[in-house]
Amino acid sequence: MRRRIVITGIGVVTSIGAGREVFWRNLLAGSSGISEIESFSTAGYRTRRGGEVKEFQAEDYVERLNPAGLGRASQFAIAAARLALEDASLSAGALAFEQAGVVVGTTSGEPQFVERFNDHYVKRELMRIGPELAMLYPCHVIAANVASELKFGGVNLMTPSACAAGNYAIAHAFDALRGGRAELMLAGGSDAFSRITFTGFSQLGAVAPERCQPFDRNRRGMIPGEGAGMLALEPLDRALARGARIYAEIAGYGLSCDAHHMTAAHAEGEGAARAMRQALAESDLLPEEVSYISAHGTGTPTNDRLETVAVKRVFDGAAYQIPISSIKSMLGHTMGAASAIEAAVCALAVFHDWIPPTINLETPDPECDLDYVPNQARRRRVEVAMNNAYAFGGANASLILRKRTWN
């Protein structure tokens, strides 16, 4: 009998609030976190808006490490990790330290240190450059910083699988727990704003000027965002023994690769469909048993169309009966954090029987003709939620959460 793994804690840092309660309230209310970017100059760019986390004070969360010595993605990750532990009513020392681990996904790691390096480099001030590229930039410092802060000495690694990284991290942690390599895992994703990612998405022509409008006929692209999401995962027996609140059980996951193109999805959604099918098979579920799909839903013309194709490919006629929404309409695309925050949303949907809306959805697109939960949150029994995420390089990840049953 395989160990069953459940989610008992949720920590998020987002542009619509930090902490599970305020985040969920704002999400169901359809609040937008998109605003003028303040953390770096957007002069010279075609757009200047993003899902920026404002009024974040690392000092509020970081206790053991020196907050000033941490990159912003590490600060977000530590904050989300502490919030998740607190939400799970766990103290950092609740377990033998070698049984507690951390897996974090990211797209860019701590790119602000590349920027700092370059600011000196272009002025030919090489000797003003510190060791940041070797010591502060490499993405593994994010998981290391979280674990050092919490004194977790178990499984520790990064799954930098770009914009599907959060799901990869949760999948990895799920396997570590099932394989008996850990008794408690904090898993999720974190990414911070940087001029590098903002430049990159702008140059891909993928950024919308004002709003993110997934599945709308007039959608103009994604909006860059930032934040972190961390989940506390533990074996069901341990959670029951300590009387923990259980949000949802992880039923299974599927990972696949399009092996097609670095930035464009496969035209028939071939790889995405394989990941969804694998996740359903592992969860021992039929497509029609899924009650909610959290879409990757970036708001780019191609993503939303192809994602719709992929969902129909797997769910066939049932696709029209399953609500599917994109919270990127509210948060923008938080990159490596996105699927971790969306996994938290799936857990909350399963726990509360509420589905968050896709906001800014005004004009239906004939090519996107599913039920995208437009503009209003919906009360609906959610037995099973599927969380889809897709990344540069064609990596696909589908995660399935379900209501905990007693059998």
Partner: protein
């Protein structure tokens, strides 16, 4: 199906390194004690305290990958795709088979390309954001090399990048083995890749970690979290100034003063033993087990640092159901770093101190340099060759053992030596931020 019931075998290997692009060539060079470190030519090393690097010189990607358009692939993606090509060839995974069945890729990388991301940003800084290339942006993400290699070779299975600094490559092999053991996959390429570039060399130089670095020209990190930055909290270099050892790394030697950076890519083809046998593949070795540990003190506390490496080795042996006396040889992570080598030596003593005979060991980073994400893959490929012919490479330059070196626990030589039928090997990988991974490999009995 119960977890861990499946056996994981290695059916092929591909390697591109400073010491050759085949397991045989690499093994010969290592046993001959050749160093891949040479003065760096790919960029101006002026102002960089350590002008040496173990680069893959004269790398011609077309010779592995043919005439298809290589332009979208940066150097690390080309190295990765080349190693993948060699591993696919050596394990007999044809194009047609890959269309039929999913092959995955688990790639360890520390930076992937810090060069690409830095150049992308500099272009935007100097010419304006509108001049930064969208194609380069796709290659700035840390998973880019894994994505590019998957596209090149039609690898449609799990595509995962694992980052734990210098432990990344071994960690990726461990992860891939677990995917097969738990029945999630039947075939994956696993290993690591890294490239040498100005950005990484300068970063490690300013961190005081490269051998021959002048300790007085210290960089300033804003409150660095790791002891392995080479400097203590007051800014003193935390090793003696052993500049007389020159620009070559000497793991475990009392005179060691840092490492040189290396580059390369190494991938193993890992398969479920049953499906591999069903297709008539030969098994080079078995991945028996792995273990990990994280040092929350990041090296500041010697006891914690040693305990984390100790945990990784013990867990790997437990997972493999092997006892310390059953291990026939060890591939150490030691790279010539002042603090890291000492921590590993003390951990080896804790694990193997009670052995009847000292454990024959090697540290191939003495010749290949610290290849960061690629190191674990290179160690694994080199160990396959040791298991094949029993020859264990020496540690280049080793003369004076460090006072903490446990000579009763392990034996190391400057020259290669012949082992009698090595069956079980342990590989260590220790990163710069507390990440430790150990892997246990077992030779296939029918090979002997």
């Amino acid at each position: 199906m119960e977890l861990k019931s499946r056996k994981v075998v290695i059916t092929g290997a591909g390697v591109v390194s400073s010491l050759g692009d085949s397991p045989g060539a690499l093994h010969s060079a290592l046993c001959a004690g050749r160093s891949g470190a040479r003065p760096i030519e790919s960029f101006s090393a002026e102002g960089v305290g350590c002008p040496m690097g173990a680069a893959v010189e004269d790398f011609v990607p077309q010779s592995y990958l043919g005439d298809r358009n290589l332009r979208p692939l940066n150097r690390i993606a080309q190295l990765t795709a080349a190693a993948a090509q060699l591993a696919l060839e050596s394990s007999g995974w044809s194009d047609a088979m890959r269309r039929e069945r999913e092959v995955g890729l688990a790639l360890g990388a520390m930076f992937c390309s810090v060069k690409t991301i830095a150049e992308f940003d500099r272009r935007a800084l100097t010419a304006g954001p509108a001049y930064a290339s969208p194609m380069d942006f796709a290659n700035t993400v840390i998973s880019a090399a894994a994505g590019q290699a998957a596209i090149w070779h039609n690898l449609r299975g799990v595509n995962s990048t694992i980052a734990t600094g210098a432990a990344s490559g071994l960690q990726a092999i461990a992860y891939a083995a677990d995917l097969i053991r738990s029945g999630r996959a039947t075939a994956l390429l696993a290993g690591g890749a890294e490239e040498i570039c100005f950005e990484s060399v300068f970063g490690f130089y300013r961190a005081g970690l490269l051998c021959g670095s002048d300790p007085s020209s210290r960089g300033r990190a804003n409150g660095h979290a790791t002891f392995y930055s080479g400097y203590d909290k007051e800014g003193r270099h935390n090793g003696a100034d052993h500049r007389d050892a020159g620009h070559f790394p000497i793991p475990f030697d009392a005179r060691r003063n840092g490492f040189v950076l290396g580059e390369g890519a190494a991938l193993l083809m890992l398969e479920d033993a049953r499906t591999a046998a069903a297709r008539g593949a030969r098994a080079l070795a078995e991945v028996r087990g792995h273990g990990g540990g994280f040092d929350c003190s990041r090296g500041w506390d010697t006891g914690h640092a040693v305990a984390a490496i100790t945990r990784a080795m013990r867990q790997a042996m437990d997972d493999a159901r092997l006892l310390p006396d059953e291990i026939d040889c060890l591939s150490a992570s030691a790279n010539g770093g002042v603090a890291g080598d000492r921590h590993e030596a003390l951990a080896i003593e804790a694990v193997f101190g009670q052995r009847e005979e000292p454990l024959p060991s090697t540290a191939i980073k003495s010749m290949l340099g610290e290849m960061l994400g690629a190191s674990g893959g290179l160690q694994a490929v080199a160990m396959l060759e040791t298991m094949r012919d029993g020859r264990l490479p020496g540690i280049r330059g080793l003369e004076q053992f460090d006072k903490d070196f446990p000579r009763h626990a392990i034996s190391v030589c400057r020259q290669w030596r012949q082992l009698q039928r090595p069956r079980h090997a342990l590989l260590n990988a220790v990163g710069f931020d507390g990440h430790c991974c150990s892997l246990a490999l077992t030779a296939r009995a029918e090979e002997f």
